[in-house]
Each structure stands twice: as structure tokens, then as C-alpha cells.
């Protein structure tokens, strides 16, 4: 249908958009290996010295540890709550069912400052001092939707008849869940968990409202950039964060796609 000219124009547009998307990311890679401590282009030489220096920085290590711990805990909570919500919505009919999927998406559909403030005022109201745990609660709240969406999408594709067959053959609810349901949805659970972790590991806005004196890695980066301090180390940390969020995402993507034809 498209004329030759239109095809060429569209292809050129795609190339332009890809360049726009990737030039900044490539630059992050290059700057991490910058030998100089001055951030100018072209970089003066290649070196690994800032990797060594960032690795030795105690602040960065503490922040990294905190981010990993908070991410893992928040992900666990999100997996539990998100998958039970998905099961409830998929399996049962009840009043306000539509509202559930709307409600779980709210923490990420509403502007970040609103979610942050709501959580902040909840903690203040109950006199819960901002701490590691408030970070976890905040992250879990906006990660639930990720697990929920992944699991419910899978449940919709899995035929219910397999479970009915299992029950007809005499398996009880637990056996059916353990041997039939769980294997069929397991990759979507893992994919949801990986994406939730990636989201948590990188979050800044909500975290600034729910963290007390603690720094997660993104908070450390934000502070350092704002104050213009330790920028060569920031280059390295930023590259590391990008790599670490990307691995789970790629895995999740693979898992969801592999499972595609299997359960269709």
C-alpha cells in the first residue's frame, strides 16, 4: 500500500528514532571508561581507574546493598500479593472486580509525587519513622501491578480444562495447584518478579518520599549528580545500574516469549 517514497521516509524515521534512543546510552558506556576526571567530549583516554575507585567507595557499596535488599523484599511481597490478586480476579466473579485491576495500576498510573506523598503521609500518620522498611513497603506497592499483569495475562491463556481434568482424576486442590497450575504460570511469575525487581532497583521519585537517612543506589546517584560530586564514579555506577536492570528484563522477556507457544 505504501509508496516507495513513503517506505523510504518511514525507514529513515526509524533510523532517526533509534539514533535518538541509543546515542545517550552509548555515551554512558563510553564515559564510564573515561580516563580523565573532567567530563568533556571527546574523552581524553580509556581507563578502568574509576571502576576501581567506585568499587572501593563505601557509600556506594552500602547503597548498593540496601537497594538489593529492598528490591528483593519488595519483589517477594509483590509476587505474593500480585499473584493472589490475579488469581482472585481471574477465577472468581465478585462485586467491584473491575475496580481491582484499576486500583493496582494506580500507583504507577498516577504521577509519582502523588504516590510518594500518599505513602509518606501514611507513614507519618501512623508514626512509622522513615526507614528501610518504609522503602520496602513503598516499592512493594508499585511493584504489585507488574506481577499482577504478568500472571493474569498468563492465566487468561491457560485453558481451565486442564485443572478440571486434574480434579476429575481425583487430585485435590493443592495437588492440582502444585502439579498443574503452578508449572503453567511459573514463568510468568518469574518474569513478573524480575521486572518488579528491575523497577524497584531503579526507582527514585517514590523512594525520596519513603526513605529516611538511608540511601538506595539511585538516591546516591541523584544526590551526587545534583551536587556535582564524584561524577567519574557516577559514570561507572550508572553503567552498572543500567546493566543490572537490563539482565532481569532480558530474562523476563525471554521467559514470556518462550512460554508463548507452549500454552497457547
Amino acid at each position: 500500500m505504501e509508496t516507495k517514497l513513503a517506505r523510504i521516509a518511514l525507514a529513515a524515521w526509524v533510523v532517526f528514532v533509534l539514533a535518538f534512543l541509543f546515542v545517550p546510552i552509548i555515551l554512558i558506556f563510553v564515559y564510564a571508561f573515561n580516563a580523565s576526571n573532567i567530563q568533556s567530549w571527546p574523552i581524553s583516554g580509556l581507563s578502568l581507574r574509576w571502576f576501581v575507585s567506585a568499587w572501593g567507595n563505601q557509600e556506594i557499596r552500602t547503597a548498593l546493598g540496601l537497594s538489593l535488599k529492598a528490591g528483593l523484599l519488595a519483589t517477594s511481597v509483590a509476587v505474593f500479593l500480585g499473584s493472589s490478586a490475579a488469581f482472585a480476579v481471574h477465577r472468581f466473579d465478585f462485586f467491584g472486580k473491575e475496580t481491582v485491576s484499576f486500583m493496582v495500576v494506580l500507583p504507577i498510573a498516577l504521577p509519582g509525587i502523588i504516590t510518594g506523598m500518599a505513602l509518606n503521609s501514611f507513614f507519618v500518620f501512623w508514626g512509622l519513622g522513615l526507614s528501610f522498611w518504609t522503602i520496602v513497603i513503598g516499592h512493594a506497592t508499585f511493584c504489585i501491578v507488574i506481577v499482577y499483569n504478568n500472571v493474569i495475562a498468563r492465566l487468561r491463556r491457560v485453558p481451565r480444562s486442564l485443572e478440571e481434568a486434574s480434579m476429575d482424576l481425583g487430585a485435590d486442590a493443592w495437588q492440582t495447584f502444585r502439579r498443574i497450575t503452578l508449572p503453567m504460570i511459573s514463568t510468568s511469575l518469574v518474569a513478573g518478579a524480575l521486572l518488579a525487581f528491575a523497577l524497584s532497583f531503579d526507582e527514585v521519585i517514590v523512594t525520596t518520599f519513603t526513605a529516611g537517612a538511608q540511601n538506595t543506589l539511585p538516591l546516591w546517584i541523584f544526590g551526587a549528580i545534583r551536587l556535582g560530586q564524584r561524577l567519574p564514579e557516577v559514570n561507572v555506577v550508572v553503567l552498572f545500574v543500567m546493566a543490572l536492570t537490563f539482565v532481569p528484563v532480558l530474562l523476563a522477556y525471554k521467559l514470556t516469549n518462550q512460554a508463548g507457544p507452549m500454552v497457547k
Partner: protein
């Protein structure tokens, strides 16, 4: 362990597992007969979490917008008043900040749709299967890449000695001071949320059956007519879904204004954050945050009608 204890042990284990499986069985029967109970058990934890921690807090927050903070003691005075809203509407600065935020969110949304639509269209209509998978993955990379990393990259680009000026010099132009301006914010926001716009538009375009394109042509429509009468209306839910992300995310952001905006580029989020953290005036912050909340609420309601939630 001798034989006897072993037998005793085994039989106890047997009995135990019999009792357990009996219990499980009875429980399954109960749950089967009363599906409401199963739904309740599954739903209680997530619903409790959301209602208690999030929804209630959200509601409480916006009730507090009608309260005030005593400027001396910092205590919250729970008398109903519209004074926060009056202060916002009466102040030139606060009005300007709100308008700047909403205007920027709109500009970014439009820019992203313009960038995303032809891209998604190419993916669906012209790309081969392999190219499509590759492009899909290539959009996924920046979508999930660190937000801070990507904002920071633009600081490096806009810097005085950065890539942009290096290119301009190479082409024989004068260097520009684009960093720390509204232009910088516009570019960075458009950059950050572009993948979030591409994905839903792609999803919507992919759903349009190929036969509709053919039917339109068979009936004699020119390419542009097919586009405006068939493709564009059918892809609208995707465009709207994509715009929810770019609009809402820009509206609620305050990190990018801090990192690439200039001194006079505060967003609603900056004011809100300062009032929660530094000034400790939560009622005022809540009143100000109700602007993006109301704007987003209206937007989401309109979006829901257009079927945007099906492609999100």
C-alpha cells in the same frame, strides 16, 4: 535407628500425611462449594494492603488539603478551609509553575506521539518478522534502562564541553547553551518516555486485521484516506494509552527539572517535595498535588472510554 522405631516413624508419617491430605481434601471441598470464601481468601491480602496503605492514605492526603499548618508550631490545624487553594490560585508563581508543568507534559506527549507513530507503523507494516523482533527488543532496552542514567546522559551531551557542542563546532556552528533550560527539559522528557509511547501504539496497530487495509483499498481509498479513515481511528486506543504514560510521568516528575532544568524551571513536583520534606507543610503540598491528580483523573476517565486500558 532400629526396625521398630522405623516402622513407628513411618506409620506416624503415614497417618500424619493421611490426616493432612484429608484436611486438604476437606478444605478443597469447602472452597469448591463456597467460591466466595476462596475469592475472599485470595483477595484479602492484596486488597487489605492497597486499601490500608495506599487508598486510605490517598484519601486522607486530599482531605488534609483542606486543613492548614500552624506556621509557628508546625502542628496541623484541622479546621476546614480553602486557604491552601486560595494561596495557590492567588499566587502568580504557583500558577506559573502549574501551567509550566501541564504545558510541558502536553508538549512532551505530542512530541512522543509524533516520534512513536511512524516507528510503530514501520514495525507492524514494513518490517520483516526478524526486524520486528529486533526493533521490539531495541525499544525495550531504553524502556527498562535506568531512568537516572538516561537523564544523566543528557547532562553530558548538553554540557559546555559536551557532545552537542562538539558536533556543532565540527559543523562550523557556534556552541549553544541549551543545558538547564526548558528546551533541555523538553528534549529529555521526550527522550525518557518515548519507549513508553511506542509500545502501546505498536500493540494497537498490530491488532488491526490486515484485511481492513485491503478492504479499504479495494473500495478505492487512496493511501492517505486509508490512513486517516481506517488506521488512525483504530489505533487511537494505543495512542491514548501511550499518552497516559508520557503525560502522567511528566506531570509527576521533579527529578529531571532538578537535573537538567534551569533555576526558573520548577515543576509542581518540586514545590510538593519541598513542602513535604523541608517546609513540613503537608496540607499545602496536598492541595498543590491535587492539580496533577485532578488533571490525571479526568485524563484517565476519558482514556478508559476510548478503550486505552486494553492495550496497556
Amino acid at each position: 535407628m532400629n526396625d521398630r522405631t522405623h516402622t513407628v516413624f513411618a506409620s506416624t508419617a503415614d497417618r500424619l500425611s493421611a490426616v493432612l491430605s484429608g484436611a486438604v481434601r476437606r478444605l478443597s471441598v469447602i472452597l469448591w462449594r463456597k467460591p466466595g470464601l476462596g475469592a475472599g481468601l485470595l483477595l484479602a491480602p492484596p486488597l487489605g494492603w492497597f486499601l490500608l496503605i495506599y487508598i486510605a492514605a490517598l484519601a486522607a492526603l486530599f482531605i488534609s488539603a483542606f486543613w492548614t499548618t500552624d506556621s509557628f508550631t508546625g502542628e496541623i490545624d484541622r479546621t476546614w478551609t480553602l486557604s491552601n487553594f486560595q494561596a495557590i490560585l492567588g499566587s502568580e508563581t504557583y500558577r506559573l509553575i502549574a501551567i509550566r508543568t501541564i504545558f510541558m507534559a502536553a508538549a512532551v506527549t505530542i512530541t512522543d506521539i509524533i516520534l512513536a507513530f511512524p516507528f510503530a507503523y514501520f514495525m507492524v507494516r514494513l518490517a520483516s518478522q526478524r526486524q520486528r523482533v529486533a526493533l521490539f527488543t531495541l525499544v525495550l532496552v531504553p524502556l527498562w534502562s535506568s531512568y537516572l542514567a538516561r537523564v544523566y546522559a543528557w547532562r553530558l551531551i548538553f554540557a559546555n564541553e559536551g557532545v552537542l557542542n562538539w558536533i556543532l563546532h565540527g559543523l562550523g556552528f557556534q556552541s549553544v547553551e541549551i543545558g538547564y533550560t526548558n528546551w533541555a527539559m523538553w528534549i529529555v522528557f521526550s527522550y525518557i518516555w518515548l519507549p513508553f509511547t511506542i509500545m502501546p501504539i505498536y500493540a494497537a496497530l498490530e491488532r488491526i486485521p490486515y484485511s481492513l487495509f485491503e478492504a479499504s483499498q479495494d473500495l478505492g481509498a487512496k493511501a492517505w484516506r486509508t490512513f486517516f479513515k481506517v488506521i488512525l481511528p483504530l489505533s487511537m486506543p494505543g495512542v491514548v494509552a501511550g499518552s497516559i504514560f508520557s503525560f502522567s510521568l511528566t506531570l509527576g516528575d521533579y527529578i529531571t527539572p532538578v537535573l537538567v532544568g534551569g533555576p526558573g524551571s520548577d515543576f509542581i513536583g518540586n514545590v510538593v517535595y519541598a513542602n513535604v520534606g523541608i517546609a513540613n507543610n503537608v496540607p499545602f503540598a496536598a492541595a498543590y498535588a491535587s492539580i496533577p491528580l485532578v488533571v490525571m483523573g479526568l485524563y484517565l476517565m476519558a482514556a478508559r472510554r476510548s478503550g486505552a486500558f486494553d492495550v496497556m
